[in-house]
């Protein structure tokens, strides 16, 4: 049962090398203090015994767990709080500092999550948190800030909330401009928008971006439909009348799942998606490549997002690294597929 018995400790290495424990510690942390001979001897012992410093002891003395906390589960918005692809980038980014991620669950409400942060923080089980699903009227940043917990947020503060914490966001407006420009270049002018019910979440930037881009081309931005949730089924049901009555040349969607619903509804109505009507998604989620035709969409640069967020938390935890700027906005990338250029292209 007690599988933890036979770990090599610093004591064993010291005995093997014929030095004191402090000298072994110095060999690991301040090798320049040792004579070449001693250093070589200690290193050999470390090698032979395959010694690694104990994580708990290290955390206790350094007051640093080398762990970052992140919640997984549904978010207050319609997306998972941390899609797998993003999680993967977090792990990669943290590994640059020999940090790892601890995942925990909780309900999507801010209050429950704050309780969770508090519980973990009081135990000093992590060095900080990343909030991967920042939203409007978000109570979490303030709490973390007030409690002096290192953290950084994916998603900009809204409703005039202060910029008193680090955040990074994707410029959805710039993304929507790419989309609309692309559709206009394909000769479409009657371009509708399908989004979620307004609620100050990220979706509103997507809607606003579409409207702005339309205006910049001198086009009317008056055909808009909203669904209650981010589901294929809801989009399908909600968009059918639009497709039939307004006869748009293209439908710009706030997500790939919504776009998949448009593809469904359009196909059922006998429209050729990518020819009769162009459809675009957002996120480059798995749904973008399971439809017929595949979806033109916008991909967020998760790698840069993860680097930024991890850099901040690690820095706030006292690890020496270049202090990143307090905030940053990055642009999504247009991924062109059949849903806007047709299958015969």
């Amino acid at each position: 049962m007690d599988a933890q018995r036979d770990h090599t400790t610093i004591r064993a290495v010291a005995a093997r090398a014929g030095v004191s424990r402090q000298t072994v510690s110095n060999a690991v942390n301040s090798p320049e203090r040792l004579s070449a001979g001693t250093l070589a001897r200690v290193r050999e012992a470390i090698e032979e015994l395959d010694y690694r410093p104990d994580a708990a002891a290290l955390a206790l003395t350094s007051r640093r767990s080398r762990l970052i906390g992140i919640r997984i589960g549904h978010s207050a918005q319609r997306h998972p709080s941390a899609p797998e692809e993003l999680l993967r980038e977090f792990v990669r980014a943290a590994a640059r500092y020999d940090y790892r991620f601890v995942i925990f669950g909780s309900s999507p409400t801010d209050a429950d999550q704050i309780r969770g942060y508090g519980e973990i923080w009081r135990r000093r089980a992590v060095d900080g948190f990343i909030i991967s699903d920042g939203h409007a009227r978000d109570a979490r940043p303030r709490w973390l800030h007030d409690h002096k917990v290192p953290f950084a947020v994916f998603g900009r503060p809204r409703d005039g909330a202060g910029d008193d914490h680090p955040w990074i966001d994707v410029d959805a407006r710039a993304g929507m401009r790419l989309v609309v420009d692309h559709l206009v270049a394909r000769g479409r002018t009657r371009i509708a928008f399908l989004g979620w019910a307004p609620d100050a979440a990220g979706g509103d930037d997507r809607a606003a971006g579409w409207a702005e881009a339309m205006a910049s081309h001198g086009l009317d931005a008056d055909v808009t439909v909203r669904t209650a949730d981010d589901s294929v089924r809801a989009a399908d049901a909600r968009v059918e009348a639009l497709l039939r009555d307004s006869r748009p040349h293209a439908v710009v969607c706030a997500s790939d799942r919504l776009a998949a619903g448009v593809v469904r509804a359009g196909s059922r109505l006998g429209l050729s998606i990518g020819d009769d009507v162009l459809v675009t998604g957002y996120d480059d989620a798995p749904a973008a490549t399971t439809t017929i035709p595949e979806l033109t969409t916008l991909r967020e640069p998760f790698d840069r997002v993860a680097d930024f967020l991890v850099d901040h938390v690690v820095h706030a935890a006292g690890i020496a690294n270049e202090a990143p700027p307090r905030t940053r906005v990055v642009e999504p990338q247009l991924v062109v597929r059949e849903s806007t250029i047709g299958t015969r292209a």
Copy 2:
């Protein structure tokens, strides 16, 4: 920078309650040893100061991190090593014991992963591991077993590998029987199978299960197609000839993505999926509900899988809980959707 300064320690609680530090420890761990009065006083102090024992100190004295390691990323098979839904269940299951998960990355090769396990284990950064993507000729269980690391595997050992470690698996054969029975009940007899190239991964059980179920109905199991990878595109390309030449009544697929490819190809050929030809998937992944029509599929009981695996690791780490049986096989559940009953149903 040093945000970690103002944590409440056991010393502060002791001072506040006017007792020694051990007495505070006893109040937390062995309350029955204290007199009612002292206990109340200590508890009040804990409450007022919002004290929680330090995780690192606890880990150091108890030799238990209350952390389980799991790798995320691509697997040697065609699936992600731990889809988000499964990860969520892991987190829930671990929380029952006040355990959490640490995630780390690595390439999909066994050798790299073993290196990773070793690195983490030597530091005693976790109490054990869960392998969520056990496969044939899997070198990881042996290594972990030989090094006395607590672990449990999702996926049964193959190639006559010993049952010397805990594992749980989903009975794909039983699942395929449900699928074939369902199709036969819908009056179909010419039932084809679309799977992956044989490679001793889990996919082979799915193929074998289909063949067995066919035989049990006295049906020929001779129409089979294999793709190189688990992609919609590959399935689409690969299945077109089958659909055209063999004219099956139904296509049973080894995954939802493959099934989505069949839906694509079938629709392009003018076949009505769910009527002319029935299609089934496997996994109840997001892809299952983004196709038109939505896919009948098999869902694996991730909740029971997670409970089993966590119970084992936690038990091996010395936490008192009921020792689960060494191995277990659970059955998937048939989820019937339009792809086998038509949209007019």
